[in-house]
């Protein structure tokens, strides 16, 4: 069998442009982990059921274990590594920490990327909508209660962040900490 030709893959990952050479049968998750060393994205079931490999492609959550890397040509991929801004964790990440929304942590990157898409589509989901939105992300540790709480707290953090941006300039640091504190209180 003749060696198959590698193909040029141009894509953006977490805001950075990349030019890669990939084989057509390489999966997006493998390119992210093995070529770009973005190992936050996990491989669980490998068949699109568990959600551990969830990344955003042009803003939409997808199973990167079922996506060919070549199919991401010209697209913008966001992984868990791309959520923090200037060294500060994303409000969803902060909420998961504040609420104890993970134990072993293996599902967490996928869970947070799933939550990111959910909150981008619906900034104020009901508990039922959160459960439906994360229905394809499996966690074997937490029993989901703390994960649902984390997303609810993230909703409040994001709302406070938006209110802060819209209103008079506020110091984001203390406001954020205060919000996380109140989130913890609410969760208990």
């Amino acid at each position: 069998m003749s060696p198959r030709q590698k193909r040029q893959l141009s894509l953006e990952v977490n805001g950075e442009p990349y030019e890669l050479l990939v084989e057509p049968h390489w999966l997006l998750v493998d390119v992210l982990r093995d070529q770009l060393h973005l190992t936050g994205t996990k491989i669980g079931c490998g068949i699109g059921v568990c959600g551990a490999c969830t990344v955003l492609v042009d803003g939409q959550a997808v199973s990167s274990c079922l996506a060919l890397a070549v199919d991401a040509h010209g697209k913008a991929v966001t992984t868990i590594e791309g959520l923090a801004r200037e060294g500060r964790l994303h409000p969803i990440q902060q909420a998961f920490i504040a609420c104890g929304g993970f134990q072993c942590g293996f599902c967490t990157p996928g869970m947070i990327m799933g939550a990111k898409e959910l909150l981008d589509r619906n900034p104020a989901p009901t508990e039922e909508e959160i459960r439906a939105g994360l229905s394809g992300n499996l966690c074997r540790c937490t029993g989901y209660v703390k994960i649902i709480e984390s997303v609810q707290v993230a909703v409040r953090l994001l709302q406070e962040e938006m209110a802060g941006e819209a209103g008079a300039p506020v110091s984001p640091g203390p406001g954020r900490h205060a919000a996380v504190g109140s989130g913890q209180g609410g969760a208990r």
Binding site: M1, R4, R7, E23, P24, H25, W26, L27, D30, I43, G46, I47, G48, V49, G51, T54, Q60, A61, V62, S63, C65, L66, A67, L68, V70, D71, G114, E117, L118, R131, A132, G133, S135, G136, N137
Partner: protein
């Protein structure tokens, strides 16, 4: 879980696509959303020499109403885009409801309606409702095109009536007539993202006197293909649909299905659930059609 190597072909016009399909024949598989095909590749159930990616073909992703009033879904429209489309939510709400029951948001972001039908999986949610709604598909090839009812599309376990060289281009769903109602009920007790143990869809249209003048029933998970429950339909056609009559008719489904026992339930259990969910689907479709209808079953 790495894949076996394959050539990757990306036609940008239907003509180029048909030429590649002719050149590679059964050695090639068509790639749309890929959620089903990638699983087949990973499990070694298919080992194509080439994949023909359809996503660069123009004009296959539309969601619009045709001149005849039917909803036209381009084969590459994803489940998510269809369920989100205001047009679908307003005029074919049962379709949006059904799509929200398919797998997980992630899979719905990737999987296409055309890919879903071509996969020919008897467990999928869209086929029963499309059967009940009397949908059809537009199939294109080098030599022209043809319209095929979804009712004739599924021929056997993962087999469809598409011929070599044919491409499913569009799904057409007729408009809902006055005094009609339709619903898809998914019974998936294990997990929200699982396939249904049984899925049941019903469409009913009532005459002025409240008689049922048009009725179609579709089922998932109970036979090698998605199926219509024709004996049940025949027993209800033209009747005033009372609860005892629907109960009696639903029992006739027994002879029309051939469920296989698996992790989602034994064959016997699926038979019973097929009857139960047909009854519930008819009752809900009747309610939506504006009938007093049979009470809860």
């Amino acid at each position: 879980m790495a894949l076996w190597p394959f050539d990757y072909l990306e036609p940008t016009s239907p003509e180029e696509c048909f030429a590649l399909m002719a050149e590679h024949g059964s050695e090639a598989k068509l790639l749309a959303g890929g959620t089903a095909l990638m699983q087949f590749l990973k499990q070694g159930l298919a080992r194509p020499r080439a994949l023909i990616n359809l996503k660069r073909l123009p004009g296959l992703g539309g969601i619009e109403v045709g001149p005849e009033g039917a909803l036209r879904l381009g084969a590459l429209a994803t489940h998510r885009r269809i369920e989100d489309a205001p047009l679908v939510r307003e005029r074919w709400p049962m379709l949006a409801e059904m799509l929200q029951l398919v797998a997980s948001p992630r899979i719905r972001n990737m999987a296409t309606i055309g890919g879903n039908l071509c996969h020919g999986d008897a467990n999928e949610d869209p086929p029963p409702l499309l059967l009940a709604l009397d949908a059809s598909v537009r199939v294109i090839s080098r030599v022209g095109e043809r319209l095929l009812p979804v009712d004739g599309l599924f021929t056997d376990f993962y087999e469809t009536a598409l011929k070599p060289g044919e491409l499913l281009a569009e799904v057409r769903v007729p408009p809902l007539p006055p005094r009609s109602g339709a619903v898809y009920l998914k019974f998936a007790p294990k997990s929200r993202q699982d396939f249904a143990t049984v899925g049941a869809a019903a469409f009913v249209r009532l005459a002025d006197a409240g008689r049922c003048v048009e009725l179609r029933l579709g089922l998932a998970g109970v036979a090698p293909t998605p199926v219509r429950a024709r004996k049940v339909e025949a027993a209800l056609q033209g009747q005033l649909l009372s609860e005892p009559l629907v109960r009696e008719a639903a029992a006739l489904v027994e002879d029309e299905i051939d469920p296989v026992g698996d992790i989602r339930g034994s064959a016997g259990y699926k038979r019973e659930m097929a009857k139960l969910f047909l009854r519930r689907a008819v009752a809900e479709a009747l309610r939506r059609a504006g009938a007093a209808g049979p009470g809860p079953t």
